[in-house]
Amino acid sequence: MTDLTKLNISKPAPLAAFGVAAVVASFALAAAPAQAGSHGMDLSGETVEFVIPFSESGGSAKWANFYAPLLSEALPGNPTVVVKYMPGAGSTKGANWFQDQTFEETNGTLIFGSSGSTQFPYLLDDPRVRYEYGDWNVVLASGTGGVAYLPPDIAEQMDGMDATGLQDIDFIWGSQGATRLDLVPLLAWRMLGMNVEPVFGIEGRGDGRLMFERGEANIDYQTSSSYLKGVTPLVEGGSAVPMMSWGALDEAGNIVRDPTFPDMPSFKEVCEATPACSTEGEAWDAWKAFFVAGFPAQKMVFLPQGASDDAIATYTQAFRDIIAREDFAEMSEVTLGDYPQMTGDAAKETLRQGTQVPAEAKAYVKDWLLEAYGVSLD
């Protein structure tokens, strides 16, 4: 309460100016192209459009709106950065649109934010996909993690990390759809020999948590920041117990404990402790491939095809400056969680891991989706 009073006297933001600024900025789109010389780009007076292929209400919107004002400060010339929403067909519409954009026409004033939901249809050969990640230029990659949790009475059935005791329980789970990020938990639970029946068609993971809280579902998972915000109070109140995190990737590409949740076993540990589960073979390879695409490489920022080295360097440097800010950790904790924000080669490596899946893994997941849920992507 005191902090409210304190903040009360902080700067009165120049709000009256913003309407004018927005209008002027929009018209400026038509104005002179950016000067891209050897001394780096100057974007002063420009409007950078940060297009995300989702609606205003999702996690990607939060992520983009978190970065937009910071990017405006960090880019040379302090351009206005506006987030533009282009939802449709589970993000494939926006991604297809971005595929048609070229750097020559946009001159560095267009960036695109993709998410795990953009990568999964790409990896699964969804017929709607007309985009090619290989054509785009990544300038930032943001990772995240996820945690599965159970009601206390069911969590007791686990013997340490051995999940064999859960195999006789009927689980029900609110899911957004088997071809989305929810594929990762579904496959993990199945590998542990658990019998989880997904109730499809919920609109967001928050609704899944609500279903768990109402007792309609008896298992759930959340991405890290939602877990910290929404589930930690439940754990403290004694109505939920964490089961495992999905883990995180180390620099060599191995799955290790998620640094945000050092006290929780990763799925790999639980799998090793459960006789029914194996960390080798095609199921594991498939799970790992889709986990990497969905979590450590969840959200990325791209420049369109044909981007000049100059532009890539400018944006990479801008994101580096943002991440190097002293107050970055504090600001990002709420929105992004404590996860690596990668630029340069690290981002390229993440992109490579997140968008390339062995043919066997792909085939395994497609067969499983068809057999278990009748979902076909042809």
Partner: protein, 671 residues
């Protein structure tokens, strides 16, 4: 009790925070932005919030909250302008307002309808804020007691309002509702991803049709075309009758109705997952059922405005409950609001109530104040704005077409939006012409997604419970709340069916020739059968069961009507056709030539892009259809285009590009 005692100081503290001049200024800016955005159909709270979101970062929390809450709170206030004055449902929250509000405007009572609506909005908003103050402390268990079966029941209660809005022939209302439900199933099924009446080759259809387009197509386009044909003004005699004071008195005379509808609004708003789309229909249904003299509903009864308008502002207060205490948004604008809170460093969730009550109450106070300021401004403006209804409609129409096309384009930002708008607009024109209940159609469409999903999910969870034990399953399905709502639903259907004949939401319709109504019925039947076969061919039961069930009901209703058509004489209400008598039949301009003007705008947009097409359309329309001189033609067209560019520029929106833009790269706004 302890929590209540702790709440009072926080309430006082929050009040002193919000009364600071800076915060009041931000609140007023928020209110003005919210009102301006809300006036445009299809924009609403999400567009407004997205506009201020970039400025949230680094703002102090109280100012930021005042700005955002001020904006959100008044959108359901100002969207009333479009509903009452033009018969355009401004947002999903004011669909039902159109039913009586627009007929009042046509009677020259626009100012009365508007001020009654605003007084109701104000009262609903304040009641919502008051309830929120105390309810938020104890709401958690109540919100959690609303599971999937309970939400399904509320959805069914909403659908049961079809009974009372069905019009002269209940079967026609039922068939219209089924058609609406079927339209809502177009696209990818939420459960298994099966495609219904869509293919991957037409990407537009995969996401289905949006509410904005259906609302505009079903209500706005038929009304505008009809008005344009008559070449008069919205108010039939071009004169204004009862003024704004009368509306406020009307509201006061019906204060208990307003109280009841506000409570309905808060309660439905509190339940996450339902959103605002049912609340105004339930409130309208309640209003009609609870009044003795029902003869004027649908043709301009002020109570039909007071009911829904009281509920839709109260809903915003209710909607904040799940948003704040669970961090789960009850609607699209609440989702953006949550994003804004995060930028201010405020985290929604249970801890907001336990540790940070003064922030919560800052929101509550902002909500209350915004309602007062917003409704006050609107009441003050309503007398003046009502004069629009006396202007020759031919001069207004191009601006309305412009607004509608732009609003529709906001839903997918593709040319498909304009094609969908035109197709649904033509459907709307026929539904109106042959007297098929358009409200029933819209209710069906709005609730289709929820009805299907809740039914699928409840079925799946219930069968899971039944496997565990019979008692467990029964307890899940027949909770006390479910039984309670079920009772209300049954009563509502029975009362509705008995009274539907008295309530003619669209006025009386003449009958005449047989052929045209028959052809339209056969077309509806053909669509229903196609949809049935299409669903039957899907692989997953979860994806096909709902469209098949709905289509079956629709086909049966249509077949019974068909039999009646074969036996009945031409004077039977089943042959209702506006072209055989009444305003439409006597109109100086034909239906198709009038519609062709709008069609031309769309075709030109597809070729030349929206702005160039709009310029050509406006000049041609003012010069040739309206018969103005060149000077006035150019001035009006210029004003229209400049206004359009200003709105789009401020909101950072693009216009639909056409074929020309494929070949030539043009600067904004011609892109």
């Amino acid at each position: 009790m302890e929590t209540l005692l702790a709440a009072l100081p926080a309430l006082g503290e929050a009040f002193s925070l919000i009364l600071h001049p800076t915060q009041i200024m931000y609140l007023i800016i928020g209110v003005v932005l919210g009102l301006s955005v809300g006036v445009f159909p299809g924009l609403g709270g999400i567009a407004g919030l997205s506009l201020v979101l970039p400025f949230m970062f680094g703002m102090d929390p109280v100012s930021g909250l005042a700005l955002m809450v001020g904006l959100v709170a008044v959108v359901p206030t100002s969207d009333t302008f479009a509903s009452v004055l033009m018969g355009i449902p401004g947002s999903s929250a004011s669909q039902a307002t159109v039913l009586d509000g627009f007929p009042m405007a046509r009677k020259g009572e626009a100012a009365r309808a508007l001020s009654a609506a605003f007084a109701s909005s104000l009262f609903g908003g304040l009641l919502g804020a008051t309830v929120l103050t105390f309810f938020i402390l104890v709401a958690r268990p109540l919100v959690l007691s609303f599971g999937t079966p309970e939400m399904l029941m509320i959805t069914i209660l909403g659908l049961s309002m079809v009974a009372i809005l069905a019009g002269r022939l209940p079967l026609k209302g039922l068939a219209a509702a089924c058609l609406g439900l079927l339209l809502g199933t177009i696209g990818e099924a939420a459960a298994g991803g099966g495609l219904r009446m869509a293919t991957y080759d037409i990407p537009y259809l995969i996401d289905g049709v949006t509410l904005v387009i259906v609302g505009l197509g079903i209500f706005a386009i038929p009304e505008i075309v009809s008005l344009l044909r008559q070449d008069g003004s919205i108010a039939r005699n071009a004169s204004l009758g009862a003024g704004w004071m009368r509306g406020v008195r009307d509201w006061f005379a019906n204060i208990w109705l307003s109280v009841r509808c506000s409570v309905i609004g808060v309660l439905v708003g509190v339940i996450p997952g339902l959103g605002g789309s049912v609340v105004d229909w339930i409130a309208y249904g309640h209003t009609v059922q609870s009044t003795k003299d029902k003869s004027k509903f649908g043709s301009g009864d002020v109570r039909g405005v007071i009911g829904p308008e009281s509920s839709n502002n109260a809903k915003e207060g209710g909607g904040l409950v799940p948003t704040l205490i669970f961090g789960i948004p009850g609607s699209g604008s609440m989702a953006v609001f949550l994003g804004g809170l995060a930028l201010l460093g405020i985290d929604a969730g249970p801890q907001l109530i336990t540790n940070d009550l003064s922030t919560t109450y800052t929101i509550v106070w902002s909500l209350a104040l915004a309602n007062v300021v917003g409704a006050g401004l609107c009441i003050a403006l309503s007398g003046g704005i009502a004069r629009l209804t006396t202007i020759r409609f031919t001069l207004l129409a191009p601006f309305l077409f412009m607004m509608i096309a732009f609003a529709a384009f906001q839903s997918r930002q593709s040319l498909g939006d304009l094609v969908a708008l035109m197709s649904i607009g033509i459907l709307g024109i026929f539904l109106r012409r042959f007297d098929w209940s358009r409200p029933a159609f819209l209710i069906g469409f709005v609730l289709s997604y929820q009805a299907e999903n809740f039914a699928n999910q409840a079925h799946q969870i219930a069968s899971f419970r039944f496997r565990r034990g019979w008692m467990d399953g029964l307890e899940y399905i027949f909770s006390p709340i479910v039984l309670g709502i079920l009772l209300v639903t049954v009563i509502s259907i029975m009362v509705g069916l008995r009274q539907a004949k008295q309530i003619l939401p669209e006025g009386k319709v003449a009958t005449g020739r047989k052929r045209a109504p028959l052809v339209f019925l056969l077309l509806m039947l053909a669509y229903s059968i196609t949809a049935w076969i299409n669903a039957w061919m899907l692989r997953l039961t979860s994806d096909k069961i709902f469209p098949m069930t709905v289509a079956t009901v629709g086909i049966i209703a249509l077949c019974i009507l068909l039999i009646r058509m074969m036996r009945a004489p031409e004077t039977d209400p089943v042959f209702a056709d506006r072209e055989t008598g009444g305003e439409d039949a006597e109109a100086p301009h034909g239906l198709w030539t009038t519609l062709a003007w709008f069609g031309a705008l769309l075709v030109l947009s597809a070729l030349l892009g929206f702005i160039i097409a709009l310029a050509l359309f406006m000049v041609a329309f003012f010069r040739f259809r309206a018969g103005l001189g060149w000077a006035r033609t150019l001035i009006l067209s210029g004003l229209g285009i400049a206004g359009m560019c200003f709105i789009a520029g401020t909101l950072n929106r693009d216009f639909p590009p056409g074929l020309l833009q494929e070949f030539v790269r043009l600067p904004w706004p011609l892109t």
